[in-house]
């Protein structure tokens, strides 16, 4: 998945699928981020705007990868699980984050706290995803309505 993001970042902006909102995306893995409440957590991937002209604060998006067997959950349990995962992702990697990684501080100039534009919760696909797309999409739709700010994707 990280490799896919890296490939996406290299494309011209108009052709990018995941990172089209960035001018010059910089992809970092396992980034320590701090928030009051959850404290120090590590975002699987954090993407930050590296372009000089993109303004302040730099755009930041985070990605959380989940390897969870969703294939055998009944309808109500599937929805409840995905909503819980999305809320956790938002709580840990969304809203306003204090980015702890030293090498990113030059991009943060006025302080390490930045708002997160979008959190993406990526579930592993294959045999772990629900086999029926109707049930999967019905659950994803509810997550998007219940937890705005988190986008759910299946790998």
């Amino acid at each position: 998945m990280v490799a896919l993001l890296q490939a996406d970042a290299k494309l011209p902006r108009a052709e990018r699928r995941a990172l089209g909102d960035f001018d010059t995306p910089r992809i970092e893995r396992h980034v320590g981020v701090w928030k009051p409440g959850p404290g120090l957590c590590f975002a699987d991937v954090l993407v930050i705007e590296e372009g000089k002209l993109a303004g302040w604060p730099p755009r930041v998006e985070t990605f959380s990868f989940k390897s969870r067997d969703l294939s055998r959950l009944n309808g109500k349990a599937l929805e409840a699980q995905m909503i819980e995962d999305a809320r956790e992702a938002l709580r840990k990697y969304g809203e306003v984050l204090d980015i702890r990684r030293d090498s990113l501080q030059p991009l943060l100039r006025q302080g390490s706290e930045v708002p997160v534009s979008r959190v993406r919760l990526i579930y592993e696909g294959g045999d772990l995803k629900p086999t029926n797309t109707n049930y999967l999409d019905a659950a994803v739709k509810k997550v998007h309505e219940k937890v705005p700010g988190v986008e759910v994707l299946i790998q």
Binding site: K76, K141, L153
Partner: protein, 446 residues
Amino acid sequence: MKVLEFYGLKEEDHLWLTFKGAFGSQAALESELEPFLQALEEHADGWMPDVAEGKRQRKYARAAIWKALKEGHDGDSTALGLYRTEWPALDMSLWLWLPPRHPELDIIIKVKPLSFFTEAERCHHFVEMVRAWASRYPVSHAAAHSADDAELAGSPRFGRDMQTSIRDGFDKIYEVCWLNVFGPKLVETVGRERMLSTPAWRVEELPNGCVLLVTWPTAADFASDEARLAQARAHVHLRPDLDFDTVLRTLLERSATLAPVEPRFHPDMAPLLSRVVDRTASHARQRRIAEFNAWQPPEPEEWLPADAALPSDVNDPERAREHYDTLAEHLVALLHTDVPSVFEATPESLTDADFYFWREEFPTSRLREAIDAHAVPAIGAYLGEVLVRNLGGKWIPRQKLEEAQVLVGHRVWLPFVRARHYMRSRQSLLDYSLTQLYRVAERHRG
């Protein structure tokens, strides 16, 4: 009171219903939902839920439902699960959007197996239930159909990406299901007169302007030629821009994809392939059986004639054998929770391990370095041990693991080489299965 787990049973086709309807916010929730429950109780013919779940599970009763909805309350929504303790299996959910949002009820029903809906009378009841709901809770679109066929049809995205499909929903008649309720907007896009003149088993205008359309009397035989013909006629009538022959051909192709195929697997591989097939999603299962019927595993090449065996080049063969034993123990340590039979070290243990690695997509889901450094030696050693214990094999230790051999009859086998081939990809797990190497070694035991 033990619920029959919908996904605990073998996955097979089932009847699927999706229904989203608006309800009023003025009256108490109980009175708003009363017609929903009444129609369910009157028409759920043989598949009536007997368990209601909010956070806890309770025996189905009005009081249990109100409690469950209270337990499931989460800001602007609440959810209720309805299940059965006996066959046929039911997975039903009622999700309610509550004020300040526009109140809406979102029902999903799954009843397994689909063959339960072979009788016209039972299907008629199902239609009457949906008719009662749609008359009371206006919908934009509702549908019931074979879940597998809906999946093959590309529902609910119909070629759109997930985000677009979620945003726009069923905004035109992409597909006609066995049972359909079209809301006023869809009726308008087709034209009310045209929609009401659709050739179908039942077309009825509901008092609130929705149109109920049922293509065929029974749900279970959706794949029959006659039912497909009815489905294609209705679809093309509602979508005059579509070509009848193309629509019908597509439907018949889907029927062919779902038609049962008799398994005729390679005998060595049958125990493993049967399990792979059982694990395959039901809409893809028959196609997979056909592929496996045509597939022959390559003959194992990880062996030498006994007289070409490499002689042992280690100083202390006993210590080398202990090392193989320790490596094999690593596999037991890795697998024993998921595959308890690894303790037995029998040919069946190998098949269980094959299935586990396949199910886990082990070669691609784990770090390659860890696979090469730890899994491959452990699997090779374990395979060698099973040959030793069950076929009277004898280790011929070598300094390099890849050269270590197990003598069985007139052949020496190279289990570590096999393990390396095996762990290359998910397909390699089948092409270079442990199961098959064992079976061939058994036949050449002499």
